[in-house]
């Protein structure tokens, strides 16, 4: 019953029905959160997986065949995103440096107070976030490109650009908070 309803919503979404798509994604995100919660303890991580899954579903929506059930299609993407997320976390865990120590590794060996300028401070913080996030924030804030322009330039969807930038801001905030705390 649920599968048939979601399948019908996706069929309409593929034809461009925005309302059906919003309804579908709202239902999907609840299912994804439920699935991810069983495997991840941190609510932030559950939300990250949910968002990544939404973007994957969006970019792969043309591959859904309404003649087939919807839920296996959706859960295959969820499982893949979850696996991908856990792998990335593992890799990050192996390489990650706590914020306080990371700041010590910033070139020039100067403290934030000594450097004294907000731009220098941000330049250093930008070095500590992921390359993808840094590039998008630089294009948005330093080069003044629009989301649409970045999307065209990088081949990444507009929604993905927004989410990556948002994640970058979040990482910057965390770093700054860590550094201030460490002072």
């Amino acid at each position: 019953m649920l599968d048939r309803r979601l399948s019908e919503l996706m069929r309409r979404a593929q034809d461009g029905d925005r309302l059906a798509y919003e309804t579908l994604l709202t239902e999907v995100i609840a299912l994804v959160r439920g699935f991810a919660r069983k495997r991840l303890r941190n609510p932030d991580q559950v939300e990250d997986v949910a968002q990544e899954t939404l973007l994957s579903i969006h970019s792969h929506r043309h591959t859904y065949d309404p003649a087939r059930p919807f839920l296996p299609w959706m859960y295959a993407i969820v499982r893949h995103r979850l696996f991908d997320f856990v792998e990335k976390q593992k890799r990050r865990g192996e390489n990650e440096v706590p914020a306080e120590i990371a700041w010590e590794q910033v070139p020039a060996g100067e403290t934030i107070v000594e450097r004294g300028t907000t731009s220098g401070f941000l330049q250093q913080a930008l070095l500590l976030i992921s390359i993808k996030q840094r590039e998008i924030i630089q294009m948005l804030k330093l080069e003044g490109l629009s989301v649409a322009e970045i999307s065209r330039k990088t081949g990444i969807s507009e929604s993905s650009v927004k989410v990556t930038a948002h994640r970058g801001y979040k990482a910057l905030r965390k770093l700054i908070a860590g550094a201030v705390h460490g002072e």
């Binding site: 029905d17 709202t26 968002q51 973007l55 591959t63 087939r68």
Partner: protein, 215 residues
Amino acid sequence: MGSEEIVRSLARDLTPVRRLRGIEWRMLLWAGLALLFVSIGTWVLGTRPDLSGKIRDPAYLLENGLLLLVFALSAWNAFHLSIPGAERGAAARMLPILLLLAWVCLIAGHAPDAMTPTAARVSAWRCVLKMSCLALAPAVAVVLMLRKAAPLNPAWTSGFALLSAGSLAVLGTRFLCAKDTPLHVLLWHLGPLLAAALVGIQLGKWLLIRPGARA
């Protein structure tokens, strides 16, 4: 940006999409075109002189039948792997590999006196070249078709895709090359096929995931 905001943003920016055709339809389309291309290619390159006699040899027919099955089942695997949720289990994935092993056993069972290193070397690169000519267009076509889908496991997907295109080329070459010595067939026909499949596995992500697209 919260998840609810992403939902609204995605819905707001929604544009209609052209649905991908069914898996079986796409697979049959590719397989049909690949068979047609290899048949024409084999005819253009010139069939082996003893073909009329060979097609009455049950062992030769069985070997080629196995290659045809490897081609079909690898394609089936590749196209199913390219759609989320349509993937088949490990047994289905192993089937073309087992059939290829059976083919290797049949070839290796040929008269051992024919296994001389000299026989293996003669005109061997010509076989590789002909096989590459036969495999190129089907391989490019299958990669392009799979890139339009969403392979969540690009390594296996492109591995099977190139195994399929390659095994069809080996089948075509069996109609071209009159050397049936095991060493020649295993080294110069099977060798490039395995190399192609391994390249597919190694370069799967690069071959099948469009830049900026999410796997």
